[in-house]
Symmetry: C2
Subunit: 345 residues, 2 copies
Amino acid sequence: RKSLTIGLIPADGIGKEVIPAARTAIEALGSDIPTPKFVDLIAGFETFTRTGVALPEETVEVLKNDCDCALFGSVSSPSRKVVGYSSPIVALRKILDLYANIRPVVSVSPSPDEPSKVDMIVVRENTECLYVKQEQQTFGEHGKEARATRLITERASTRIGKMAFELALARPRRHLTVIHKSNVLSVTDGLFRESVRAVQTKDPRFEAVTVAEQLVDSAVYRLFREPQIYDVMVAPNLYGDILSDAAAALVGSLGVVPSVNAGDTFVMGEPVHGSAPDIFGQGIANPVASIRSAALMLRHLGYTEAAHRIDNAVDSVLREGQLLTPDLGGTAKTQEYHISLQKNS
Amino acid sequence: RKSLTIGLIPADGIGKEVIPAARTAIEALGSDIPTPKFVDLIAGFETFTRTGVALPEETVEVLKNDCDCALFGSVSSPSRKVVGYSSPIVALRKILDLYANIRPVVSVSPSPDEPSKVDMIVVRENTECLYVKQEQQTFGEHGKEARATRLITERASTRIGKMAFELALARPRRHLTVIHKSNVLSVTDGLFRESVRAVQTKDPRFEAVTVAEQLVDSAVYRLFREPQIYDVMVAPNLYGDILSDAAAALVGSLGVVPSVNAGDTFVMGEPVHGSAPDIFGQGIANPVASIRSAALMLRHLGYTEAAHRIDNAVDSVLREGQLLTPDLGGTAKTQEYHISLQKNS
Ligand SMILES: CC(C)[C@H](C(=O)O)[C@@H](O)C(=O)O
Ligand SMILES: CC(C)[C@H](C(=O)O)[C@@H](O)C(=O)O
């Protein structure tokens, strides 16, 4: 690769404030990566309000045909049902077959030599479960009745299981926790659990990984009581959504938790936080989640050194404690990160 | 009522250790309530292993025909799929139409005059959502495919909404948070949200309640960051399951969080914790959740004073800090609670 084409989809709210900081972080890398080329793309509720479409076809086409990877910001949800609107991020994950949502939740230790107190990865299946959005409403004897389908397939559970085992294998502890609720959902979550566990029996390398299981309710409880029991967690889509937000509370703020949506041929970074309409426009959004999402994306593409450089820079900034946005108890502005990133390049 | 017939279903694991403590607490009330009569009933995984049925018909018949109320312990889940086994607690909630699962999560303040730091009620819909257990497995092009139905009805959402508004109205803050994920599940969670909100427009008393909404993922996150924003929460079944376990982490232990499963004609107390196979048999299970569940059950039946007496006794015991089981950092045994309850009667 001579250049790296990166689609930027800030979408709604603070997504528009933090994605530029991620861009600056990538630009500051210089020759560590092929020359980055950024392509600005639109999607989101604002796009829907303006154009009637939340995810324009052009955005999808450019991502598919012209981009090597992408960064997504955050989307706003309408507070009332809006006919025709459907979440563009859920759609993108499906259209681009980004089947794994990888969410590392890591606290910054006081010094580089100390291990992080919280250090786990939530590996979330990203294409099915209740996110298939097959819903109907009918009228029954007692009024409206609505039904949604929760889909769990052997294929998707197996591939997310593989991804989780690979990630666990590459970590010092080599421990994987399978999250499910098969005491109630014996068929769907039963299939998820069995498919993930079967992955281990089919690849001798994975024998080195210890495997545990947790019901999702008690998993969230134990996450707060004993976060150290977790290393890599693998979960169906909705449980993964909830678990990763819960885990974010352990590291001070959702504003520092990154993710990538990864498939076999494409990767899209995305901060775990939402569009935060309450603080949008004030310039105080924490860009760390987006900056780290850029690092994760680069790591996934094989630019390990570049990713490392970004993460190290963020770690020092957080350790120094000078550049903390209000979510972390400081008064720093998003803009100050740009200056700091440019200086350190 | 001259007497109060109470069905006791300890079921599995530590349920068998803690339900007797709840019984002792009720017996210690003396003339505050009609003479209690206890009926021992069986259910659970152990019952299934022994008899082939997890919830014997006799248990259901006795509850329906002879009991005024009941206390349920906890059930074990098989670690692998077991043909024919299905959770008896999920079944009981449905059969007895105990549509509301009311879970107060309250911390004990250092002195009786100080307010509790954490003081909220999770009101969980108890009969539908994914708990309808309509699941099928088929074979597709890429292997096994499993589907579950998530059912949300206007009727069930309305009645749980009413229950939640009534509970909120009776509390000083009068605040209700509706939990949903309608940014993904616009039809099912859309119906839940609209049905709950419609409750307010139909009863002028409920105008006094302020209403907020939270997406379930961010609700769990904020629960840990700002628990004080919550007063009463109302949620579909699965979100309520996860949220109440999460909230339990805020008050030190799942071992202190009680619940009632309430319908229009029957109420069944139940500790929120599980059967805890890891500590079963050691006599160290925390009986507080079960004792408080007995209090909640009595309160629901109108025996406010009796409920108050139990809760006050538990509060003082926890405040003194002499009788703490290992989950709360102490070395007390379940048995010591019996002695303490008998002494205080
Ligand atoms: C915005 C929403 C559809 C999304 C999700 O539920 O996946 C978000 O919560 C996330 O975690 O990325
Ligand atoms: C045992 C299980 C079926 C149950 C549930 O999911 O409802 C439990 O977790 C609870 O919260 O009472």
